[in-house]
């Protein structure tokens, strides 16, 4: 109920001396030096949420003053040292019965204030190469990852727990072989953290040198499921070949390619998107001879380019007299001068490599911005209305029984509870909209002709602050 108020706190005090605030006889007491610098006074105000009136009245040495109904008193202790105090307030507003104070909300203060651990929620890993002591301990072929743990055959049971199974400790049991434990799991390309669990005890993969701090005093093992192999044919006489590119900031030493029968190769995980690269053959920089896509960087260098991910073909029918049609959207910063479409037969066409997600877009036809006439899914109103496409959607919201409705919108935590979209499509008697949702919890509602309803076909819902409910949806990794 209250925890939202605590967002955005500052880090711990930096400039103030210790022991400036304590509790004494039911009072909150500050010991303040009137010679403090502006910086220190600012920190005092931030750390203890004292507003400017309290601060200025204190420094004017007013013996007593009232701010927002709170009575403050000051007392001069000695030269330039002043004691500011007030009665301790009840911890929560009187309108809330004290026994409803939520234990689980109080510590939010703690988390924001102390910030002991770094956030691991955003992982911007662009590329990755595995580092196992032997290739037999991990393989990734045809979407199947196989983990092998040597030894520990005395264990009664062994599980693998990681970001691929939502860190479930019971879902993925490994099978005992004559020399260790093995499991094969269907996984998408990407970066994954994991540990083994031997009879209830967490165990980092002893044969994997790649690890990351788990923020709780230990380490997780890290593995990459590859999605691309760089290949360079020939150059068999070369001493070494290095792969370098925009993904690793053109590092000239890091990614050594491996010899094979025909030349050189390097399997790798690369994040979806477009990457520039070159090979360095014994210090000589060359583009990829088997890749026709090369572009100049405008500084006299020519690089090879590769797009990772799937291609979506944008199409706009008609507009045969238009001179120039551009695709513009959230994926290119709404730049109307970059992604020009090509006129093929009766339509304008542009294939574009995109990451999975919900993307907003428009066409720019000779300077005039239009939504996609063939896509009924939109967000926003009037000039601010954009077309929305879910590329590689993983979930479809569906609403039955409202065949007579004029407009149905789904809104929720996934789009900041916007009331102007996403508009659903009416197909075969059902309102629906496919979307891409990253793993996690979502709460949502439908707005049927302006009326908010929970999902009648979803048994899971939770109460909200309006004393109604929100439907609850979990997307598993």
């Amino acid at each position: 109920m209250f925890f939202l108020l605590f967002a955005g706190f500052y880090a711990k005090a930096q400039h103030l001396p210790d022991n400036i605030c304590h509790v004494n006889n039911g009072k909150l007491v500050f010991t303040i030096n009137l010679n403090w610098t502006d910086e220190q006074i600012h920190e005092l105000s931030q750390t203890y949420e004292l507003d400017s009136t309290v601060i200025s009245s204190t420094f004017k040495e007013l013996p007593s003053f009232t701010v927002n109904g709170i009575v403050w008193t000051t007392k001069i202790i000695k030269n330039n040292i002043i004691e500011l105090s007030k009665e301790l307030s009840p911890p929560f507003p009187p309108s809330v019965p004290a026994n409803q104070i939520m234990k689980f909300d109080i510590p939010v203060l703690d988390e924001n204030w102390i910030k002991k651990v770094a956030s691991t929620t955003t992982d911007n890993t662009v590329y990755g190469i595995n580092n196992l002591t032997n290739a037999k301990y991990f393989s990734y072929i045809n979407d199947t990852a196989t983990f092998f743990l040597y030894g520990y055959t005395y264990a009664r049971e062994m599980f693998i727990s990681g970001s691929f199974n939502n860190w479930s400790t019971r879902q993925s049991a490994m099978a005992l072989t004559d020399s260790g434990w093995r499991i094969s799991l269907t996984m998408k390309p990407g970066k994954y953290a994991y540990k083994f669990i031997a009879d209830g005890n967490w165990l980092r993969d002893p044969n994997n040198k790649l690890k990351e701090n788990d923020t709780y005093g230990g380490n997780n093992s890290i593995v990459f499921c590859y999605n691309y192999t760089f290949r360079l044919k020939g150059y068999t006489q070369a001493g070494k070949v290095i792969l370098t590119g925009s993904f690793n900031n053109w590092n000239t030493k890091e990614l050594k390619m491996q010899r094979n029968a025909e030349g050189w190769e390097l399997p790798i995980f690369l994040k979806e998107g477009t990457h520039a690269y070159k090979f360095i053959v014994d210090k000589e920089w060359i583009t990829d001879p088997d890749n026709k896509i090369i572009h100049s960087d405008g500084k006299g260098n020519v690089n090879s380019f590769i797009g990772i991910g799937d291609t979506l073909v944008f199409r706009l029918q008609g507009y045969q007299n238009a001179l120039r049609v551009a695709l513009t959207g959230s994926f290119n910063g709404w730049n109307p001068n970059e992604l020009f479409m090509e006129k093929i037969n009766n339509e304008w066409v542009l294939p574009y490599v995109m990451a999975a997600g919900n993307h907003e877009y428009k066409f720019c036809v000779d300077g005039k911005w239009i939504t996609d006439p063939d896509n009924p899914v939109t967000i926003g109103k009037g000039d601010m209305m954009n077309s929305v496409i879910a590329f590689k959607p993983n979930y479809t919201f569906k609403l039955n029984h409202y065949a007579d409705a004029r407009e149905v919108i789904v809104t929720g935590s996934f789009n900041g509870w916007r009331t102007d979209g996403y508009r659903m499509k009416f197909i075969n008697g059902i309102w629906e909209i496919p979307v891409f949702l990253a793993p996690g919890k979502y709460i949502y509602k439908f707005i049927v002709d302006g009326k908010w309803i929970t999902d009648p076909d979803n048994q899971y819902w939770e109460g909200n602050e309006y004393n109604t409910g929100n439907s609850v949806l979990w997307i598993e990794p």
Binding site: S95, K103, S168
Partner: protein
């Protein structure tokens, strides 16, 4: 036959509950949070030793725990639903998240004498089977409460809270650093059935269980205080009504005004206990929230001066035997490299 026995048990419970619900007064403002839940009904149950009976073919069982921030999670399967329970010794019993067990409420309200508060509802129900690793329970009494705020804050699915009465019959070894809870069976005399050869406790301290919460004495500024030992508390909490002397060694490092619900006169304080000791062991730099806990004391039915939570448990390995009323502690040295 099994069905029949089940029905019989339920009927007995219904009769018991319904007869009981006429004799208790129901607090209109029952707490939202189960850790604070201590309905009179539960108190009564404890006096007749109505606690869940753990089953499972083991003498000792290690259960992996996961961290979600400063919460500890244990994977469980409850009547077929798999998910995480918060390991919360500040909760008295099993508490289920209303979102996923809403259907159970109808049963509890009709049959088991559910208790409905004005703002926060806490319902009583019975679940068929709870399975945690190789440990399982059948026909478990549980509360149902709205835990959506924990889920939304942590972004993790929370099926419920694993409260103290579920595991108090075992010796509990709590090791945050290794992320494990080890449960060991006790013999009739309360002795652990597996020797703790490897553990050398730095301190063996008295602990007692009252009304399904654990209480220990610890000293702040030389004053002996009564602390509730609460693995579900993400932070220590010190009662602002604790004896005045206590605050001599507590320095306030943060203050926040709470401006919710039309009041400008409320605040929460974060402090550091500079003189905290348990037994003869001083623990420095223990951070704590300072707030009024008198309502909580009312709910628990015991005067408590504070709660020791995550900050405390991360100081070492704790081995609790409530039958022997003992808690052994191995304090961690410097954090060892893996």
């Amino acid at each position: 036959m099994k069905k029949y026995i089940y029905a019989l048990i339920i009927t007995c419970l219904i009769i018991f509950f319904s007869s009981f619900s006429r004799t208790v007064t129901i607090d209109e403002s029952l707490p939202l949070i189960a850790s604070f839940v201590k309905s009179p009904a539960q108190l009564h149950f404890n006096t007749i030793s109505y606690d869940p009976s753990p089953s499972g073919n083991f003498l000792t069982l290690t259960i992996p725990m996961k961290h979600a921030g400063r919460l500890l999670l244990i994977e469980a399967n409850i009547d077929g639903q798999t998910g995480n329970l918060v390991f919360d010794t500040g909760a008295t019993d099993l508490v289920l998240n209303k979102t996923y067990f809403r259907d159970y409420m109808a049963i509890s309200n009709e049959n088991a004498g559910g208790i409905t508060g004005a703002a926060g509802e806490v319902n009583r129900t019975i679940v068929g089977k709870v399975q945690i690793s190789d440990l399982f329970y059948e026909n478990v009494n549980a509360s149902i409460a709205n835990l959506a705020h924990i889920e939304n804050r942590k972004g993790i699915k929370i099926l419920g809270l694993l409260g103290l009465n579920m595991i108090k019959k075992f010796e509990m070894l709590i090791d945050l650093q290794k992320g494990k809870l080890r449960l060991t069976r006790l013999d009739k005399k309360g002795n652990s059935m597996v020797e703790n050869q490897a553990l050398h406790f730095d301190l063996v301290h008295k602990i007692k269980e009252t009304n399904n919460i654990m209480l220990i004495n610890a000293n702040v500024s030389g004053k002996t205080l009564n602390f509730c030992l609460d693995t579900g508390a993400e932070s220590n909490v010190l009662n602002s009504y604790a004896p005045k002397k206590v605050f001599n060694s507590v320095s306030i490092i943060r203050r926040s005004n709470l401006s919710g619900a039309g009041s400008q006169n409320s605040e929460v304080l974060l402090g550091v206990m500079k003189d905290f000791s348990i037994g003869n062991k001083k623990i420095s730099g223990m951070q704590t929230i300072i707030t009024n806990l008198s309502a909580l004391s009312d709910v628990y039915g015991i005067q408590i001066d504070g709660m020791l939570g995550y900050d405390f448990f991360e100081k070492g390995v704790f081995c609790i035997n409530l039958a022997k009323k003992e808690m052994g502690i191995c304090f961690s040295k410097e954090k060892e490299a893996e």
